[in-house]
Symmetry: none
Subunit: 404 residues, 2 copies
Amino acid sequence: MEIQISRESTIPLHLQLLNQLRHRILSGHWPPGSRLPSETMLQRRLGISRSTVRQALHRAESEGLIERVPGKGTFVARQPGGPPNSRLIGYITFDFLSDFQRQLLRGAEDRARSRGYRILFCNSNRDVAEEDRLLEQLLADQVRGILIWPALDNRPSRRLFHLAQQCRVPLVLMDRTLPGLRCDHVSSDNYGGAYAAVSHLIELGHRRIAFLSRPILQLEPVAERLRGYRAALQEAGLSPLEPWLLGAPGREMDVGYALHTYHAASSQEIQELMRRLDRPDRPTAIFAMNDLMATQALKAAALVGLQVPEDLSLVGFDDMDIARHLEVPLTTVAQDTFALGQRAAEFLVERLEGYPGPPRREVLPTQLRIRASTGPARAVERTRAPGPLVEKAQCTPCQGFTNS
Amino acid sequence: MEIQISRESTIPLHLQLLNQLRHRILSGHWPPGSRLPSETMLQRRLGISRSTVRQALHRAESEGLIERVPGKGTFVARQPGGPPNSRLIGYITFDFLSDFQRQLLRGAEDRARSRGYRILFCNSNRDVAEEDRLLEQLLADQVRGILIWPALDNRPSRRLFHLAQQCRVPLVLMDRTLPGLRCDHVSSDNYGGAYAAVSHLIELGHRRIAFLSRPILQLEPVAERLRGYRAALQEAGLSPLEPWLLGAPGREMDVGYALHTYHAASSQEIQELMRRLDRPDRPTAIFAMNDLMATQALKAAALVGLQVPEDLSLVGFDDMDIARHLEVPLTTVAQDTFALGQRAAEFLVERLEGYPGPPRREVLPTQLRIRASTGPARAVERTRAPGPLVEKAQCTPCQGFTNS
DNA sequence: GGATGGTACCTGTACGTACAGGTTGATCCC
DNA sequence: GGGATCAACCTGTACGTACAGGTACCATCC
């Protein structure tokens, strides 16, 4: 198990060395008090200059990992864990309005606590400037790593990119990625969940299936759901419809407003839905971006006299609490948000213990929960537009998990 | 007062520079946030190499004296002198399963952040031993104060009592009190909310009103709701019924289990409810301890053929998300949990800033939200058992607030 | 007036050299 | 055998160069 340094990596040489030293020391591979190879030894073995080796060693020393004795050599510190108050993990979320976020935090806290870390919780409230300030403060609070569900903004000026590049503290992105930000990432299988949901509808004989969303298609999870919707339809030889976008338009640089209306049920949107449902060429099924929008569709359907699922099938996403308590219990795609948080914390702790590899990505399975809001398409329509039936709703293999 | 470097000194050049930087910064001669001369500037002015300058600056950085920003320059740290006065607040909750707890945390974080503090979030998972460990760790993490929603247990051995007695860090209790624990406390007006809810039912002509709960009457908030229920009935000259307790019995020392079943809807309980509702002497209205139990009552009513609100009125508590999305939108009592968290953080910050007085208690108003699940009692029953009508539903005066 | 591009400046990264002064252990001399 | 000596090796100090990539500012052009 030699130390490996890659010239191709974007991570600076001295940080590569530092990370691997940290890994060996914290994992116990090099026991406390043992002697490290000398600077010239490392220099020769790794093919880098002594200055670079020294840079890594100095950092390791200031982290309390090693002790250097002039004339004698370099040694693993007796207590390589460092000062006791440094077992903090920063946690930043762009928002804390939904149950989804509660589950995520609960999962992260659960796993962090079991590994001896505590969570420093911050809410950026969709404000990138606030997020920058919070990142700074977390560094000042001496956090060892940061879990972040970032606000939306790709400007490279934001502190997040700088941190990711510097590699001073490891980062783990939750739920969404940002273009150009290279670090560990966990998310749910939004694509697979949408694919399974729409396949389920196709299997029931539906041919005209609408995708209902707010105008926030640039959000990665929503984009993935749209992709899954389209893929399922196209593989069945059906045509995706133009997405139904309700609510205020999503502005390029100010997604904050779109997110703000994310949870608000405005009557204007119900009106618009009623108009779209009260037409002869209406779809026979709707796949909604989330349960709240599905709820709005349910209301609009009732108002124009459509029965669910007899006249209109509905599928939501997220399996929120309300899904099973609606008048017509909602078929929906569940995410294991708790596990998502746990996995994020695991990724981070592994980095803190020195895991050296390139950025990892984990996509957790979603699960289609079939309830009363989906049923067979009307026989009339089935005979009118006979298409190939998909044999079985596909979904990433999933084990049972609950939302609470 | 120029920086002087002596080649004759036995002190290394970079240490000479570091010492003078440290002096200037800690003495306030260079104020926090101000900019240091650039590396090349120092190099020229002092006649030493850039490497040597960098050596000093790196050390100053790891001492927390300065902050370096690529592309911009080097700056005196905002808090030079290290982190002796950390701005961390510990937050312990006994549980993190409901939206209520999310709102509470969100409120506390919001106010703490605006006052310059960060929240160190921990979940004791209803385990008093774990809570003890977490309290210890928070102290080791140098928190300045602690917000806690404690697990249930009155044994004076628990760490919490020691802390309150020692007064090393201020404590604020949230939602519930513990007998014998003297410290600041915030809660909702459970009594007033229940009183308003039951008064609303009485005003509608109901005479037989049941109190539906799980066997956890020893929980202070539940006890307060029961007290409000009884007071409203008695003041109207009516008799409270024996509480309907559904689910596993609440054991004295192990409330964990009762809380565990808190959110589970078991069909056994529905069966029991159906039995109780399918009798001639059934109540005409039910005041449920929370919305989830009200939901169960709604199901049971439908199963025995009772219409809500025509045959049975229902009131819940908490105004959870599901309340307004139920088949029959639920009349319920809303708590301003966000404000509760804010107030708790305010209490704590005031203590941190030196507020000296005795323990304070704040009870935040609740708000009755009348929806479709409550209606007038049947004329038959009104004539059968005419009683004095209460003039107006009383409630602590409240301003509008939302749950999201 | 506002986007655009150039330029100066800043820190980060990485390489190299040279010498000082301490520790260690083998060797040599008395 | 015991002490002095020396070479090998270690880290510390100090110098130098070169380039990359970011920020900030200003002049320019449309």
